[in-house]
C-alpha cells in the first residue's frame, strides 16, 4: 500500500512539473512586441486570438514565444493558448492603447448661415497610431480660422476618447477653417458660411411697355452679406381680381419681374419667412 501511495505521489509530482503553462507580461501596449513564457516540454501548438487575429503555430513547450508588434496593434482582450500532449492551457491578457497621436474629426454642418448661435458641432475622437481609442483624458486643441480674422483656439480634455465644442458661425460669409490637434495630429475641416435670410427686403416699381417692372434693392442679410444668387424671392400682386404670385430667383444680387397690371394693385415681396415692403401701383391705359 505504501509503495502504491509513493508511486502515486511521484507520478502526480512529475505531472505537475511537466504540465505546460503559459504566462504573459502584466503590461502590454499596442504595437509593442512581447515574449510569452511557457513551461513544460515537447512539441506544442500555440494559438493567439485577438480582436483582429486568430493564428496557430507550432512551438516547443518550455521555450519563449515571441509575438511581433504587428500582431498586437489592436487594443483589447487577447487569449494565448498552448496545447501540448498533456492538454491545453491558456492565459488572457489586455493590450492597452499607445499614446494619443491621431484624431477623427467630425464637423457638422458643412454649410451654415452666418450668425447661427451654437450651430456648428465639432467632435474629436482621440486615437493612437493604430486607431485604438485612447480612453484616458487628453487635451485636444480646437481652433477656428475665419476669413480675414485672427485664429481663435480653445482646449478641451477628452472624456472616454471624445472631446467636443459647439460654435456660433461668424458674422461674415465665406469659408471658415475648423481645426483640432493632438500630438502630431492636426485635422482641419472647412465650413462654408453663407448669408442668412434676407433682411430689409425692399422693392421698387417702374413702368415698362408690358406694365410694371418690379425690382428688389440688392438683397442682403442682416449682417450685410449678399444673399446668394438662386435664392427665391416671391412677388405677390393683389388686386380686385385676386392674388397672383411669381417666384423669381435672385440674379446678380437682385430679383426682378415684369407684371402686367390693370387698375389698382398692391405688390408685396417675401423671401422665405421674411417679408418686405408693399407698393401701391396703378396701371392700365
Amino acid at each position: 500500500m505504501r509503495s502504491l501511495i509513493t508511486t502515486f505521489l511521484v507520478f502526480s509530482t512529475a505531472i505537475s512539473v511537466m504540465a505546460s503553462e503559459i504566462h504573459a507580461p502584466a503590461q502590454i501596449t499596442a504595437g509593442k512586441a512581447i515574449t510569452l513564457q511557457t513551461s513544460g516540454s515537447g512539441d506544442a501548438t500555440f494559438y493567439l486570438i485577438g480582436p483582429a487575429v486568430a493564428s496557430k503555430s507550432k512551438v516547443q513547450a518550455g521555450g519563449d514565444i515571441p509575438i511581433d508588434s504587428d500582431r498586437l496593434e489592436h487594443a483589447g482582450r487577447y487569449v494565448a493558448i498552448l496545447c501540448a500532449s498533456d492538454g491545453c492551457t491558456a492565459t488572457n491578457f489586455f493590450v492597452s492603447p499607445a499614446a494619443a497621436n491621431r484624431l477623427s474629426f467630425l464637423v457638422h454642418p458643412s454649410r451654415i448661415p452666418v450668425g447661427t448661435s451654437q450651430g456648428i458641432s465639432a467632435v474629436a475622437i482621440v486615437r493612437d497610431n493604430f486607431q485604438n481609442l485612447v480612453l484616458k483624458p487628453e487635451p485636444v486643441t480646437f481652433s477656428i480660422m475665419a476669413k480675414d480674422e485672427k485664429p481663435v483656439s480653445a482646449a478641451r480634455n477628452s472624456e472616454n476618447a471624445f472631446a467636443w465644442v459647439r460654435l456660433t458661425s461668424a458674422r461674415k460669409e465665406g469659408p471658415t477653417k475648423l481645426g483640432a490637434s493632438i500630438g502630431h495630429a492636426d485635422e482641419v475641416r472647412v465650413v462654408q458660411q453663407v448669408a442668412a435670410d434676407a433682411c430689409n427686403l425692399r422693392i421698387k416699381a417702374s413702368r415698362d411697355k408690358h406694365g410694371f417692372l418690379i425690382e428688389t434693392d440688392p438683397v442682403h442679410d442682416c449682417s450685410g452679406n449678399p444673399v446668394p444668387d438662386g435664392t427665391v424671392v416671391s412677388f405677390t400682386e393683389s388686386d380686385s381680381a385676386g392674388k397672383t404670385t411669381v417666384d423669381v430667383p435672385i440674379k446678380r444680387g437682385v430679383a426682378k419681374v415684369d407684371m402686367p397690371i390693370d387698375g389698382r394693385a398692391t405688390i408685396t415681396v417675401a423671401s422665405g419667412v421674411v417679408t418686405g415692403n408693399a407698393l401701391e401701383v396703378s396701371g392700365g391705359q
Binding site: 501548438t45 494559438y47 486570438i49 485577438g50 480582436p51 483582429a52 487575429v53 486568430a54 493564428s55 496557430k56 489592436h74 487594443a75 483589447g76 482582450r77 487569449v79 493558448i81 496545447c83 491545453c88 491558456a90 488572457n92 489586455f94 492597452s96 492603447p97 467630425l106 457638422h108 454642418p109 458641432s121 467632435v123 475622437i125 486607431q131 485604438n132 481609442l133 480612453l135 484616458k136 483624458p137 472624456e159 472616454n160 476618447a161 471624445f162 467636443w164 459647439r166
Partner: protein, 180 residues
C-alpha cells in the same frame, strides 16, 4: 369524383397552412431566443438628449450586432458582418474571421447579456459612444475540437453611428476593466 378531389385538396391546403403557421411561429420564437439580452441605460448621456426612437433602436441593433457577430465567428462568414457593422469594427472582425479560416479555428459565444450604457451622443446626432458590460461563455475550437472554454466578463467601449435604417457598430474595443 371531382367533389372528393376538391374536398381532399382543401383539407391538405388547410393542414399545410396550419403547419406553416406553427413552423413560422417556432422559427420566430427561436430567433428571438437567440437575440442577446441588452439592458439599456441612457440616463447619463450628453450633450445631446437621446430621442425616444433612438433609445429603442440602439439596444435592438446592438443586440442584433452581437447575434450576427456570434454567427459570423462561429461559421466563419464575413458576409454576416455587413448587416450591423461598419468601419473599423467590420474591418477588424473580417480580418479575425479570415485568419480563423486560415488557421482552421472557430469561436463560439454563449451570450448571457449586456448592460449597455450610452455616455456620449454628439450634438449633431451622428455618433454615439456606449459602454457595454457583457457576460459570455467563449469557446475556441480547432478543427471542431474545443481548445478553450471559459466564461468571460468584459467591458467594451463601443462607437455606433446611424445608417440608413439602423444603428451600426463602428468600433468596439475591450477595456481592461479599469475606468479611464
Amino acid at each position: 369524383m371531382k367533389a372528393a378531389a376538391f374536398r381532399y385538396g382543401s383539407i391538405i391546403a388547410i393542414v399545410a397552412v396550419l403547419l406553416l403557421g406553427v413552423v413560422g411561429y417556432h422559427l420566430r420564437a427561436a430567433a428571438e431566443d437567440d437575440l442577446p439580452r441588452v439592458e439599456f441605460n441612457a440616463d447619463n448621456i450628453s450633450p445631446r438628449p437621446i430621442e425616444d426612437l433612438t433609445s429603442k433602436s440602439v439596444p435592438r441593433d446592438y443586440a442584433l450586432a452581437w447575434q450576427t457577430l456570434a454567427q459570423a465567428l462561429s461559421g466563419n462568414k464575413t458576409g454576416l458582418l455587413d448587416g450591423y457593422f461598419t468601419g473599423l469594427a467590420k474591418q477588424d472582425f473580417a480580418q479575425r474571421i479570415n485568419s480563423q479560416i486560415k488557421s482552421g479555428l472557430q469561436t463560439k459565444y454563449t451570450d448571457h447579456g449586456h448592460k449597455l450604457e450610452a455616455i456620449f451622443y454628439s450634438p449633431a446626432g451622428d455618433v454615439m459612444e456606449l459602454r457595454d458590460h457583457v457576460q459570455l461563455d467563449m469557446q475556441i475550437l480547432d478543427g471542431g475540437k474545443v481548445i478553450y472554454d471559459q466564461p468571460v466578463t468584459a467591458q467594451y467601449m463601443v462607437i455606433m453611428t446611424p445608417g440608413a435604417d439602423r444603428w451600426l457598430v463602428r468600433q468596439i474595443q475591450a477595456m481592461n476593466g479599469e475606468k479611464p
